[in-house]
């Protein structure tokens, strides 16, 4: 059965083209995906991300539990409100999902996991939580709106009470606060500044409408995908899953092999780190016309790989992609098989786009 967010009727009233996304009926675009993309890069756009799964973890040993559950170290979270991006791994070091952990107090952490992986994630978290006496509660009563872009914060702050505005205006990147009944986090999936706002379902439509009135442009999942890839951010299921470790997915920076912390998958990661992971994730740009797409073969002198996420970058005006290739592959002689034609591509550092423009060398 297809699920609807509380904003479904709002999307339809705006003329959105709807698609099935992980069992949810979601807006792909409201007319032009490319215009929505530019609105986020240049001004402010918003996404209904209520399909994402918000889970509250409560109990005196929640921090201990998260030390065990995720590959990044929650000991980096020292100030209430701080957030951490991390993967949770299975015993083989494969990625069960990627998530954001918010530290609210010692007995309360909040995690946001992907929509398409909800059932699997909840089962996994609950299974691990039992030993730590941590209560796992999905917050189905909450909707979520991501407001992103260079002017996004100012537009949101203008809608808040004086007291909440003062608080939300001061939170640093990758941190959150509460106020006006909202959970306001300075996080996102576009590479732009902005807020992700968790709002009680009953108030979500009113907030959405007030954001529109404040000049925030609704944007669909199509723009969300091109924005996150330009920003060099992974998409679960496309760039990583249980069959790869964080090291093979460009996520080594999210793994903390800190002293004495026994997290799930650690042993495999340690041996992989010592021996070197067999594959790696690289960023590609194609200067020729055409679009790199998921599943295309990537030919390198060290052997074949494949395109993971690939798309047309509206900011650059050309195609960009993530690819997984043999670890020995260098920068030279990389080609992509597009409809039986081998097209040369350039290996580049990502993010592909920074501050609204192509990053140096891209």
């Amino acid at each position: 059965m297809t699920q609807h967010t509380i904003l479904n009727a709002s999307h339809r009233a705006l003329g959105a083209k709807m698609v099935d996304f992980g069992g949810w009926d979601m807006p792909l675009n409201y007319g032009s995906q490319i215009e929505e993309h530019h609105a986020v890069r240049r001004d402010a756009g918003m996404f209904d991300v209520s399909h994402m799964t918000v889970v509250d973890l409560r109990g005196a040993r929640t921090r201990d539990f998260l030390r065990h559950l995720v590959a990044n170290s929650v000991d980096k979270l020292k100030v209430p409100g701080k957030a951490l991006y991390t993967c949770m791994l299975d015993e083989r070091g494969g990625v069960v999902d990627d998530l954001i952990v918010y530290y609210l107090d010692e007995a309360w952490f909040r995690v946001v996991v992907n929509a398409a992986t909800r059932d699997k994630d909840l089962a996994w978290i609950e299974r691990q939580a039992a030993a730590f006496d941590v209560a796992v509660a999905e917050r189905r009563d909450q909707a979520m709106i991501a407001v992103q872009g260079p002017n996004a914060r100012a537009k949101v702050l203008g809608l808040l009470s004086e007291e909440t505005r003062a608080r939300a205006g001061k939170i640093g990147k990758f941190a959150a606060c509460e106020g006006d009944g909202l959970f306001i986090a300075r996080t996102g999936y576009t590479g732009e500044d902005g807020f992700e706002i968790i709002v009680p379902e009953g108030e979500a439509v009113a907030l959405w409408d007030r954001l529109i009135a404040a000049g925030v442009r609704p944007a669909g999942l199509g723009a969300r995908d091109t924005l996150r890839l330009e920003a060099g951010m992974n998409l679960y299921g496309q760039d990583m899953d249980e069959s790869v470790s964080p090291y093979e997915a460009g996520l080594a920076w999210t793994v903390a092999l800190d002293e004495g912390r026994d997290f799930i998958g650690r042993a495999v990661l340690e041996s992989q780190k010592a021996a070197g992971a067999p594959r790696k994730l690289i960023g590609l740009v194609m200067d020729e016309k055409g679009v790199l797409r998921h599943g295309q073969r990537v030919a390198t002198p060290a052997g074949d790989g494949e395109i993971l996420s690939g798309t047309f970058s509206p900011t650059l005006g050309k195609s960009i992609a993530f690819a997984r290739v043999p670890a020995a592959a260098g920068e030279d002689g990389v080609q992509v098989d597009i409809r039986a034609r081998l097209v040369p591509v350039r290996v580049v550092k990502y993010p592909f786009v920074r501050d609204g423009q192509g990053a140096p060398g891209v």
Binding site: K17, L28, S32, Q33, T226, K289, G290, V291, R293, R339
Partner: protein, 131 residues
């Protein structure tokens, strides 16, 4: 959705064909097809002088979302292609039945056009697809 001009004929795969006054056949994709594809970013066209066979793929339109083959409804020689699409593929999104045309075929015979759908039959096909 753009009004379908009455002088067009359609393939079930969403290409349109129009017989010009000089007898050549102009080919494009339907407004319905462009709306399914979304923002177009790249068009690969045949070359002038190519011989094409009805029902064969001879162009590719790529949107942010997907790449799609374009089939020619008639056989013959390509006598013109819409070069302006190289820089402005979005023209197809904006005017699928006009400035967004793809190529022109000098057809050997008109018989193949008889196989195509008239605007009403095509509109019905689209209607049924949407339900």
């Amino acid at each position: 959705m753009q009004e379908i001009p009455g002088d067009l004929k359609f393939m079930k795969s969403h290409e349109w064909a129009r017989v010009e006054d000089n007898g050549t056949v102009t080919v494009g994709i339907s407004d319905h097809a462009q709306s399914l594809l979304g923002d177009l970013v790249y068009v690969e066209l045949p070359s002038v002088g190519d011989e094409v066979q009805a029902g064969n793929a001879c162009a590719v339109v790529e949107s942010v979302k997907a790449a799609s083959d374009v089939y020619t409804p008639v056989s013959g020689e390509i006598v013109a292609v819409n070069e302006s699409l190289a820089d402005k593929p979005e023209t197809i999104n904006e005017d699928a039945y006009g400035d967004g045309w793809l190529f022109v075929v000098k057809a050997g015979s008109r018989d193949e056009l008889q196989e195509l759908l008239d605007p009403d039959a095509y509109a019905e096909l689209v209607e049924n697809e949407e339900h």
